[in-house]
C-alpha cells in the first residue's frame, strides 16, 4: 500500500518538474544508488549553485531500500490512484463539456432568430380573445408563449396538433406552473368569432388563449409570424371552404422574441423538453400564475 502511494507521489513530482532538470535527475539517481548518504559532487557545480533547487537530493531519502527505489521505476508514474484520478477527471470534463455544448446550442438557436432591431418573427398586435377581451402583444410578455395558427373547421391536422399542444401544455405546466401561455390564432376570422373559438378550444385545453380579429388584423398577425395562409377568394355567404396554412408551433420568449419553431417531427414530450430547457436558460424575470 505504501509503495504505490510513494510511487504516485514521486510520479507527481517528476511530472511537475521541468524537462531541463531531467538530466540532473538521471545523473543524481545513478549516484543515489552508489552512495545514498553522500551529496553528489556533480560536474559543472557553478550551474547548480545558481539554482536554489535541491529537492532531488532530499527525495532520495524517501526510499529506504534499493528495492523500494527500483519498484518506483518499475511501476512508473502509473498506479491505481493515478488511474482513478484520471478516469474521474476525464468523466467530469466530458460531462461538463457535453452540458455546456447543449446549452450553447440552445442559446444559438434562440439568438439566431433574434433579429437586430425589429424582430424577424412576431411583433405587436391587437386582437380579441375568446371572451371578447382585447389582447395585445404586451399581455403576452413576462411569460413564454406557444403560438399556433389554425381554424375551427380544420379537418385533420389542426385538431391533432392541438391535442398534441394540450399534452405539451400539461407537461410544461407540471414543472413550470403558469410559465407559458398557449395561444391559438385563427386564420379564418370570417367564421371563427370569439364564441366559436371558445367552444372549440374548450375541448382541447382550458388554458388556451384563442385570438381572432378582423381579416386585416389576422392577415397582419400571420404576416408578422411568417405564417402562410390562404382563404379562398369569392366565398359566398354560407359556403363551406378550407383554409390552407402553416402548421408550426412558435415558441416566443418573455420579451416577445421568437425562440424556436416546433413542428410535427417533435413528439409532445420532446417539444415540452425543448420548451422547459429554454425556460431554464432564461435569465430574466418570469411571471408565474
Amino acid at each position: 500500500m505504501s509503495q504505490p502511494t510513494a510511487a504516485a507521489r514521486a510520479a507527481f513530482h517528476a511530472i511537475s518538474r521541468a524537462t531541463s532538470r531531467q538530466c540532473t535527475r538521471s545523473m543524481s539517481s545513478s549516484t543515489a544508488r552508489a552512495a545514498p548518504t553522500k551529496r553528489p559532487t556533480a560536474p559543472s557545480p557553478a550551474k547548480f549553485q545558481t539554482q536554489p533547487y535541491q529537492p532531488l537530493v532530499q527525495r532520495r531519502f524517501k526510499y529506504k531500500t534499493v528495492e523500494e527505489a527500483k519498484s518506483r521505476y518499475r511501476s512508473g508514474p502509473f498506479s491505481w490512484k493515478a488511474g482513478l484520478l484520471f478516469v474521474i477527471t476525464g468523466a467530469g470534463l466530458v460531462w461538463y463539456f457535453e452540458n455546456e455544448k447543449q446549452r450553447m446550442q440552445r442559446k444559438r438557436v434562440a439568438e439566431s432568430s433574434k433579429g437586430v432591431g425589429k424582430p424577424k418573427v412576431g411583433g405587436p398586435f391587437s386582437l380579441i380573445d375568446q371572451n371578447g377581451k382585447t389582447v395585445t402583444d404586451g399581455d403576452l410578455k413576462g411569460r413564454y408563449s406557444l403560438v399556433y395558427f389554425g381554424f375551427t373547421h380544420c379537418p385533420d391536422i389542426c385538431p391533432e396538433e392541438l391535442d398534441k399542444m394540450a399534452r405539451m401544455i400539461d407537461l410544461v405546466e407540471a414543472q413550470r406552473p403558469g410559465g407559458m401561455t398557449p395561444v391559438f390564432v385563427t386564420c379564418d376570422p370570417a367564421r371563427d368569432g370569439p364564441k366559436e373559438l371558445k367552444d372549440y378550444l374548450a375541448e382541447f385545453h382550458p388554458k388556451f388563449l384563442g385570438l381572432t380579429g378582423t381579416y386585416d388584423q389576422i392577415k397582419a398577425m400571420c404576416k408578422a409570424y411568417r405564417v402562410y395562409f390562404s382563404t379562398p377568394t369569392e366565398v359566398k355567404p354560407g359556403q363551406d371552404y378550407l383554409v390552407d396554412h402553416s402548421i408550426y408551433f412558435y415558441l416566443m420568449d418573455p420579451e416577445g422574441d421568437f425562440v424556436e419553431a416546433l413542428g410535427r417531427q417533435h413528439s409532445p414530450d420532446q417539444a415540452a423538453k425543448i420548451i422547459l430547457d429554454h425556460m431554464k436558460d432564461w435569465k430574466g424575470v418570469l411571471k408565474s400564475n
Binding site: 373547421h153 385533420d156 375541448e203 354560407g238 363551406d240 378550407l242 417531427q265
Partner: protein, 119 residues
Amino acid sequence: MGLFDYFTSSSPADKRATEVRTGAVAPTRAERDRCWVARDAYFACLDANGIVDALKDEKAAAKACGSVGEEFERDCAAQWVTYFKKWRVQDIQKKARLKELEAQGANKMDIQTDFAERK
C-alpha cells in the same frame, strides 16, 4: 347534442348534422371522431377494391363502396369529404415515392405526416 342523438333522428340533431355537413358550424370533437371513423372505413373499402382516386373513379367507387361512401358523406362536412379523397391520392403517391427512395438507399428522416393513432 351528442353522438347518440344522431341515431334518434330527432329534428335538432338532424339540423345540427346538416349544419356540420354544409360547414355552417365547426364540428365538435365527437363529430370529428365520427367523421374520421367513417373516413377510415371508406378508405379501407377503397383499399380492398384497389381504388386510389375516389374522385376520378367516381363510378367504380360508388359501385364498390356505395354504402360506406354514403356514411362517410353523412358524417363529414362536404368539404372534408373532398379534402380527404384528395389527401388519399397524395398520401398513396407519397408512400410509393418513399418506398422507391428507400429502395434506392435514401436516408429516412423522423417526420410524421400521417394521421395520428386514435384510441
